[in-house]
């Protein structure tokens, strides 16, 4: 795959699985603090792996990558008990049905976004709302709020991360309708 193809595959096929992936990691790892770092690691491995050959099922590929990561980490952390290994073997990779992840409608996505907005710190929320709801540019947001453009830029950066995290936590991670061939629709990822 070219970079552009790999990017698009990642955005359209892998990112919608984020809620499922995080739940899977949480269920099988004791420390919640490690989850986002482990999710990043899974993504990086999946992305590299797909560069060699595009997997038939993103879902199965993500889960088996996550499972391997869990095994690697357990070894390294020396926290392996017999139960841990038994559990690892018992992890059924299809336990999480795909449809629940993808049947997310526009309306519910809006709800998740709203809920995510409400969790932002007040200033950050104000900036994101002006930028995304009112459609103001960063420069206009700065003028409206009487703050510098650099501050706006910083608040937007915070908002971006908070929104991405909220998508994962609220269980909505879908982007667009039923997923078909990678090449046949959607704007370029970057």
């Amino acid at each position: 795959m070219t970079h552009a193809e790999a990017d698009r595959w990642f955005v359209e096929e892998v990112l919608p699985l984020e809620a499922m992936l995080e739940r899977f990691l949480r269920r099988n790892w004791r420390d919640d603090d490690d989850i986002s770092e482990m999710r990043q690691e899974v993504y990086a491995r999946v992305y590299v792996g797909a560069g060699n050959m595009r997997p038939i099922s993103a879902h199965a590929f993500v889960l088996s990558t996550a499972k391997n990561l869990l095994i690697d980490r357990s070894r390294r952390a020396r926290i392996v008990s017999i139960e841990t290994y038994a559990d690892m073997d018992a992890l059924t990779l299809t336990a999480e049905p795909v449809p629940t992840e993808r049947h997310v409608m526009a309306r519910s996505e809006l709800r998740h976004l709203q809920a995510a907005l409400e969790l932002l710190p007040p200033r950050c929320r104000e900036v994101v709302e002006l930028r995304k709801i009112e459609g103001l540019s960063q420069r206009e947001v700065a003028a409206r709020l009487g703050i510098t453009q650099d501050t706006v830029e910083r608040q937007v950066a915070n908002g971006i991360r908070a929104l991405a995290a909220a998508f994962a936590n609220t269980g909505s991670a879908s982007i667009k309708g039923p997923l078909g061939f990678v090449g046949d629709k959607g704007a370029a990822a970057l």
Binding site: D32, L113, R139, I160, I175
Partner: protein, 327 residues
Amino acid sequence: MNKISPIEARAAEWISRRDRGALDEAAERQLDHWLAESPAHRVAYLRLNNAWGRADRLRALRPAAPTRPIKSLRTVPSPHRKPLPWLYGAAAAVALFCMAITVSGDSFGPSALQQFSTRVGARETVALADGSKLTLNTATQLRAAISTTARNVWLDDGEVYFDIAHDASRPFVVTAGDLQVTVLGTRFTLRREADRLQVNVLEGRVQLQVPGAPPTVLTRDESGLGTGKSVLVTRRTPRQSVVVTSWLEGRLVFDQTALADAAAQFNRYNQKKLVITDGVASSIRIGGTFEATNVEAFVRLIQSGFGLDVQVRDDQFLVASQRKAAS
């Protein structure tokens, strides 16, 4: 919460910078270089960029501005152009009629409706015909209809702990106003206050349905707050899990809780109400474990511990911060 990842922070900075305006050539090269450095950079960037793009949907929340005429308004088709409105009415009537038959068929089934309720300060455990066990917290009202084909419970008010016997053929459905909770076999608690429904999952999965939206599935250690048409899902820390189930042992657990909130908790369990009369006292933070029905002991404690002024009336304790200086 999760640790802050430096890669993620950097990716967010790039996206925000680009969002501010077009990058110049040098910056563009820098970004390309950063992305090529490691797949971890690239995936973090893709993920956040996608989230920020999806946030464009928020545009739908933009209130219509009646003072400013919007050009595109004219292109919206007038409702009068819809053909044969009476046909819709007829179809709706037929649909309603069919529904009525189904509903009444169900409710006249073999199940008998049982009613349960608890007084203020009471806590009771009841067993249902299917083997499920319910513990009702203070001031709770609930109805149950368990038949061979269906398991239905209506939570009218209060808080309940559900330990549901597994039976995949008969989903266990709890209705609380417009909200509905469906499980097959699991442990969870529900607390209803008017239109708000708090769900705390202790084991297994719970499906929460609010009107007009796809159902939300909650798993162990997750809590959902359903209000009207929305659901907010959070993950509980182990400490929060202790707090949400402490009432099963008749205890209230506070951790950096405002006195006003603590008072509201005690007032659920006691006829004699705690009334905090000023803002200073209301915002005092307290922590600890208390017996829910022993409000007198709690009053003595805040009196001696915080030097608060307490006046005892027949049906309430008036708490004020006036004598704080004297303590």
